[in-house]
Point group: C2
Chain length 413, copies 2
């Protein structure tokens, strides 16, 4: 899962009572071919997803969680067959579970691996039906909007016409914003957490450095490294190291590592990692390549770079004119990758078109990773927001039942 590796040293053991429980992974195959933003058509898309909690009879409590760059469908709880004593809970476990910010006692929570991912959903490591070989770089380019279209098809399959909320951090927040613009009738509320309506030049530049490291790794082999003896571990590891620095803040790195040396009081005067921060980054790089696919890294970072909620419109407010959702926008004070200033621009645009927006900049030293590391502060904002969203959805559902002449499709919504 994306960033939460930085949480690893403080990882808590699984607490069954506080857990979303054992969540089996399910798979759904789209019936129809998908026409992508690029114009290419992709058939036979498989989506891996998990659900938590129970869907209310009036279907008023469905919440979709969208994951970040390197996340997956396993957002909370443990997997069937995992030993609770050693299990790695899902990537947002402190946030998703009974009584937690996203309360699985009250909500029906869905989380799916994104299109282009490498954790079950169709992506560049999947088999190209025309060649019988892995897609590699022949896989079509994916946009955030394409990811959202796949999620919409999944919700159709689950019989969920409308979401009480779409919740996402980082690239997940981009998906949440895309949902509000692309499917306004299906999204009551949006939680846009540590995200942005588009990346600036600096963030694109960092992504491009990571991509270059992968693309220029000889073991990348033009993307056709599946099954090969050597994998582009060096390039992907370097990409992860760059990314990881941008997820942390200068203050949190200073607090965590400072200038401490790994194993000696004196400088070694060699090129082996000797500052703790070097060893930590190298470790993060090594761990990442064990579980993540280099091609997916390329596709995910491109999707983020392409994402621009304003699109061809002259202003962001104009681009959002069809949006009807209510918003909770959260940023973190030390997040320099998805800075508060960008969130404020989003908030201004949403308010300019008369939408209801709650905004908070949460004080934190954890940088962009704060959305994974500050469950309590997010709980205070998200829990009541979602509770209220479900109440309104339930009330609207009652109205629709009482006044069927108001029409199907949720006229009161």
């Amino acid at each position: 899962m994306t960033h939460q590796d930085s949480r690893a040293p403080g990882r808590r053991p699984w607490d069954e009572a506080a857990s979303a429980g054992v969540s089996p992974t399910k798979t759904f195959t789209l019936e129809h071919p998908l026409t992508l933003s690029s114009g290419r058509v992709l058939g036979g898309v498989e989506v891996v997803y998990e659900t938590y909690g129970r869907l209310a009879a009036d279907r008023s409590n469905a919440v979709l969680i969208c994951h970040a760059l390197s996340g997956d469908a396993h957002v909370a709880g443990i997997k069937p067959g995992e030993d609770p004593a050693t299990a790695r809970p899902g990537w947002w476990d402190p946030m998703v579970g009974p009584g937690k910010a996203i309360d699985t006692d009250r909500l029906f929570v869905i989380c799916s691996n994104v299109l282009g991912g490498c954790s079950g959903t169709t992506g560049p490591a999947s088999t190209d039906p025309e060649t019988g070989r892995p897609w590699g770089l022949r896989f079509p380019m994916i946009t955030v909007e394409d990811m959202v279209d796949v999620q919409a098809a999944l919700l159709d399959h689950l019989g969920i016409q409308r979401l009480a909320s779409v919740v996402g951090g980082s690239m997940g927040g981009m998906q949440a914003l895309a949902w509000a613009k692309r499917y306004p009738g299906r999204v009551a509320t949006v939680v846009a957490d540590a995200t942005t309506w588009r990346l600036g030049a600096q963030a694109i530049a960092f992504n491009e450095v990571g991509r270059r490291a992968i693309l220029e790794d000889p073991d990348f082999a033009g993307g056709d490294y599946y099954g090969a003896e050597r994998q582009p571990d060096s390039g992907l590891g370097i990409a992860r190291m760059v990314g990881h620095i941008t997820y942390l803040s200068d203050a949190s790195m200073h607090e965590k590592f400072g200038r401490s040396l790994q194993s000696s009081d004196d400088y070694a005067y060699d090129f082996v990692s000797e500052f703790k921060v070097e060893s930590y980054l190298a470790y993060q790089g090594r761990r990442f390549v064990e579980r993540f696919d280099a091609n997916t890294y390329l596709y995910m970072t491109k999707a983020m770079d392409y994402f621009d909620l304003q699109g061809d419109d002259p202003t962001l407010a104009k681009a959002l004119s069809g949006v009807t959702s209510r918003f909770l926008v959260l940023s973190f004070s030390s997040d320099w990758l998805f800075a508060t200033a960008r969130s404020r621009e989003l908030v201004s645009a949403l308010r300019a078109i008369g939408l209801e927006v709650t905004f908070a900049e949460i004080p934190s030293d954890y940088g962009h990773d704060a959305f994974l590391l500050e469950p309590e502060a997010q709980h205070r904002m998200i829990a009541p927001f979602l509770a209220h969203a479900v109440e309104r959805e339930a009330a609207a559902a009652r109205l629709t039942v009482e006044s069927p002449d108001r029409g199907a499709g949720g006229g009161a919504r």
Copy 2:
């Protein structure tokens, strides 16, 4: 030269009247072997340097300029034989010349390529006398203090016992600070420009990413790529790209590139660089590998990481207790790599021990590169500071001449 590549688009043609002139490159070989910080001994060190202006009879006007990570001795003017119409002036040409911030009509300016460099001074590309082959990674690790010791030997050779000022930006500023601590009697003043008394974890982390990219490039060949068919261009290019992002500010990148595409109005949906910022970074990477040595990049970044003016002392002020120089400390508002906060810590420590310090944070959107891109603002601070420094040195020289019984070695100083 380090960062000034980002200036390239606005590079001015050579202006002879405003130029430091034609500066021949000179070479000096140290007579004695050098004992390095690491304890290793390096013999036969050659230093390449340039000088500008004339040394006053009382030797009161010598100013040493120290260069940054990828700089060289060619700080200003053009080289002998260069065509003025197409010449690339030295890396700090807007700052060094007649009437400029570092006024070559009044000052005798010295600039040498640092130990471990790749522009003439002994470094990893030099021949190891024991093997007759290039040193490569067998070259001893270099510290900022080692660089300064070589410069001190050069000044001995030039007959300059004492400097009116040591001036440096970025890694050059580290050298200037090391001078003040290591040779207090020889340094009247220090201009510490866009620098720091030590790097934090974030800056070390960025340096380490660049080093990993080089060390893991198969063409690096353990550092023995000299004369080989392939060079570690990919790794060095990626290192440069990372570095370059950190030299700019988010604001300057946004201003310069935003989300503009290189050659189309529409997304190409491929992995070729398509945002302007991507093409720009790729270009910077390619240009850099044409003129810079990957091994030197490793050694210079390590020297910066190791630099810690506090050393083993409990406080910075304590570590600086022997320092006698006067200081001009300059930082730039948008420089997040060498942030103003670090400069303020330095200023506090210097003032705590009663030293005279002038400090200014220059407003600029150019990030760390501002020290190369804001000559006017620096001129206003540096020119009077240096003029005053020389006046005081000249006055002290007169005093010494008038009162020889006060002792040799500059008792009045």
